[in-house]
């Protein structure tokens, strides 16, 4: 199966953060906030929308919309993109403790109805008391299991009952709201070390830390023992340029993290092919200065992957 390519839509990367933001006078070319007029104002979501559209236009299959503590709230980002994108899958980060189990699914039912079933859920771990989440790390997996069981149970006519430690529902069922609608496929994070009991609920396992090709093959084998239809995704920060010299200049300037996929367009494409051969199904690419890097990745990397697939 061909490698799918997603973009991680950050809302906190430094070069992107202030785009379409109102200035406090420190940058003369940025419009000052005019509280008297709400019309015709641009805001940061105009920029986020443009990054999303760039990903769609350059051939990405989807966006991962993360829940960054200093960033925008992912349900809202997802909502603003429903009618601004046509085809992209939208993988919304979900904090299980942030809503009732029913309300997570209720919001998803509208997203699926409005987007023609393009949402998936990326389940995050516990967020701690600074985010109002009192659940201890050792209880997190049980809570996730309850959430996923409840979401599956009420995604239909019901009546579905659940009396859990974290979520309850009585005579639940979303009925006509979800008839003919796909329940959002679930992505789980490898860093949360999901057990077989959780993997059976999942469609995708996201490897969210650096992984070698050798380790990848083992991870894929282990995960597929729990769930044979599981697809494997990996978070891959990207730094790619046309030739070695450009790569070196950029790397010296950016000082990329060790897990970053660094190299020329050809080298990075070859590395992705190797990962795909070892069992990777989805590459989730990321880089700061997103409007520029989305174009580089889309045109040069996805372009190479697709051209090779067409030639074959």
């Amino acid at each position: 199966m061909a490698l799918s390519v997603y973009w991680n839509l950050s809302t906190t990367a430094a070069p992107d953060r202030r785009r379409a933001e109102w200035g406090e006078g420190e940058r003369a070319w940025v419009p000052a906030r005019d509280a008297g007029s709400r019309c015709l104002q641009i805001n940061h979501y105009d920029y986020l929308t443009q990054v999303a559209r760039a990903a769609e236009l350059t051939g990405f299959d989807g966006l991962v919309i993360p829940d960054e503590p200093d960033g925008e709230e992912p349900w809202i980002v997802t909502g603003t993109l429903l009618r601004e994108t046509r085809r992209l899958r939208l993988v919304t980060a979900i904090a299980p403790g942030s809503a009732s189990g029913v309300y997570h699914a209720k919001m998803a039912s509208s997203v699926q109805r409005f987007s023609n079933d393009r949402q998936a859920w990326l389940i995050d771990g516990p967020r701690g008391l600074a985010a109002g989440d009192p659940v201890a790390p050792q209880d997190s997996a049980a809570r996730t299991g309850e959430l996923l069981t409840l979401a599956e149970g009420i995604w239909g006519d019901g009546p579905f009952d659940q009396e859990g430690q974290h979520f309850i529902v009585e005579k639940g069922g979303l009925g006509g709201l979800v008839r003919g609608r796909r329940r959002p496929p679930v992505w789980l994070r490898q860093s949360e070390q999901p057990g077989a009991d959780l993997l059976v609920h999942a469609g995708v396992l996201l490897l969210d830390a650096a992984v070698s090709i050798d380790a990848l093959a083992d991870l894929v084998a282990d995960a597929r023992r729990a769930n044979p239809s599981l697809r494997i995704a990996a978070s891959l920060p990207l730094l790619t340029r046309a030739d070695e010299r450009d790569v070196a200049v950029e790397a010296a300037y950016l000082d990329p993290a060790p897990s970053t996929l660094v190299g020329t367009y050809d080298a990075v494409t070859a590395k992705l092919r190797d990962l795909a051969a070892a069992g990777l199904d989805i590459a989730v690419l990321s880089a700061a200065d997103q409007i520029r890097e989305v174009h580089i990745a889309g045109e040069q990397i996805i372009g190479r992957l697709r051209a090779a697939a067409v030639a074959a």
Binding site: G36, W75, S110, L129
Partner: protein
């Protein structure tokens, strides 16, 4: 003082006429003659959804001078947060009055979602805080708490949400919520808190409203009863050193003449099956608002005129569609006169509705609101 006029966005389909009870706009009902047909491209669905129709209602309300719209939230409606985020980019000045219950979201998440949505809309978020109708449907929502508990929770929810947003890092350990050094990120924290519309008729609700609401929102009730309720809310709020405004949510049928308006009601009433009349009053739950409206004799009515409560006020709207019983029916002049009367009794804001919501937004905006005697009716910022 200015009066705000909001419109309602129907979040579970709309009908092309108040005469028919069924929703024929929206994708829940099967395709029959008279239904808004799904768009097809080469024989396949073209990707439009009920969101597209809601978008057009919001735009009609915006064009017609309404400040924004209420987005109700019930088990079988689309979700107001998702609708608002999706409509943020399809509208310019329309404010989103999001109905939600504190049991749906935790307060830190609610603060982040709201602040992000304020950023996406340039500050167009308004809350309609509902504490719940109770009974079986609360557990349908996944909410285990009973009536008075829920009002205690609403108060604590709003304390924490405001604290995290405006006083962070914020620490709180209460009966329902626990947070430690919680704050919004700087880009979000600078946004304004949404204006709070608060519903609820019970003693527990009034206590909670006095503490946190900017507007106390009520369905239309018999005018004297409503005036008394508003007076009580304002007195209760003044006792704790705050001020509060009052708002009314009311459906209208406004036509060129009284006769034309009442003909809509006559035909609508005639289309109601006897069994739906008899089942009125079977509404479950522990809502005091519902109890206050019972005893109007809807089940016994055999003629629409039996349900005329006072001049231009009809008590049978709950037969024509789910929701409150009382609404205003009459000529443009008389509907405007009743709204003026309500302003005189203490109303500072209205959420109006009429079926079909798209076309009627134009009619009410163009024909009724300009007739109000009240001089300072706030039309949507015309200068923009």
């Amino acid at each position: 003082m200015s009066i705000d006029f909001y419109w309602r966005i129907p979040t579970h389909g709309c009908s092309s006429s108040i005469r028919e009870r069924s929703s024929n706009r929206g994708d829940w009902s099967p395709l029959v003659p008279g239904n808004q047909a799904p768009g097809l491209a080469d024989g396949a669905p073209d990707g439009t959804s009920y969101l597209d129709h809601m978008t057009e209602i919001a735009r009609a309300a915006e064009i017609s001078g309404f400040a924004g719209g209420l987005l109700p939230s019930f088990p079988m409606t689309d979700d107001p947060w998702v609708i608002s985020a999706a409509l943020a980019r399809a509208t310019k000045a329309f404010r989103f009055m999001i109905a939600f219950q504190p049991g749906f979201l935790d307060p830190v998440r609610a603060a982040r979602m709201s602040a992000s949505l304020q950023r996406a809309t340039n500050g167009r978020v308004v809350y309609n805080i509902i504490t719940g109708g109770g009974g079986p449907s609360q557990r349908w929502w996944g909410d285990p708490f009973d009536h008075d508990d829920r009002y205690g929770r609403t108060t604590e929810f709003l304390d924490v949400m405001k604290g995290v947003w405006k006083e962070g890092p914020y620490t709180h350990k209460g009966r329902f919520y626990e947070v430690e050094n919680a704050a919004l990120p700087p880009a979000l924290a600078g946004e304004d808190l949404p204006t709070v519309y608060f519903s609820g008729s019970s003693e527990a609700a009034l206590q909670s409203a006095a503490r946190h609401a900017d507007y106390y929102l009520s369905w239309l009730e018999p005018f004297a009863q409503l005036a008394q309720k508003f007076e009580q809310v304002k007195r209760r709020t003044a006792e704790i050193g705050r001020g509060i405004k009052c708002a009314i949510r009311v459906e209208v049928v406004a036509r060129r003449t009284e006769e034309e308006a009442w003909r809509e009601i006559e035909l609508g009433f005639a289309n109601v099956k006897a069994q739906s009349r008899d089942s009125f009053g079977g509404q479950r739950g522990d809502s005091v608002g519902v109890q206050r409206l019972s005893g109007l004799g809807v089940a016994d009515a055999r003629d629409y005129r039996d349900l005329i409560v006072s001049p231009n006020v009809w008590g049978g709207f709950s037969l024509l569609r789910p929701g409150p019983a009382l609404g205003i029916v009459g000529s443009y002049e008389n509907v405007a006169a009743r709204l003026d009367e309500l302003i005189g009794l203490g109303a500072d804001s209205f959420i109006l509705a009429a079926t079909p919501h798209l076309e009627e937004a134009y009619r009410v905006g163009e024909e009724v609101l300009p007739l109000l005697r009240h001089q300072a009716v706030q039309r949507l910022e015309a200068a923009e």
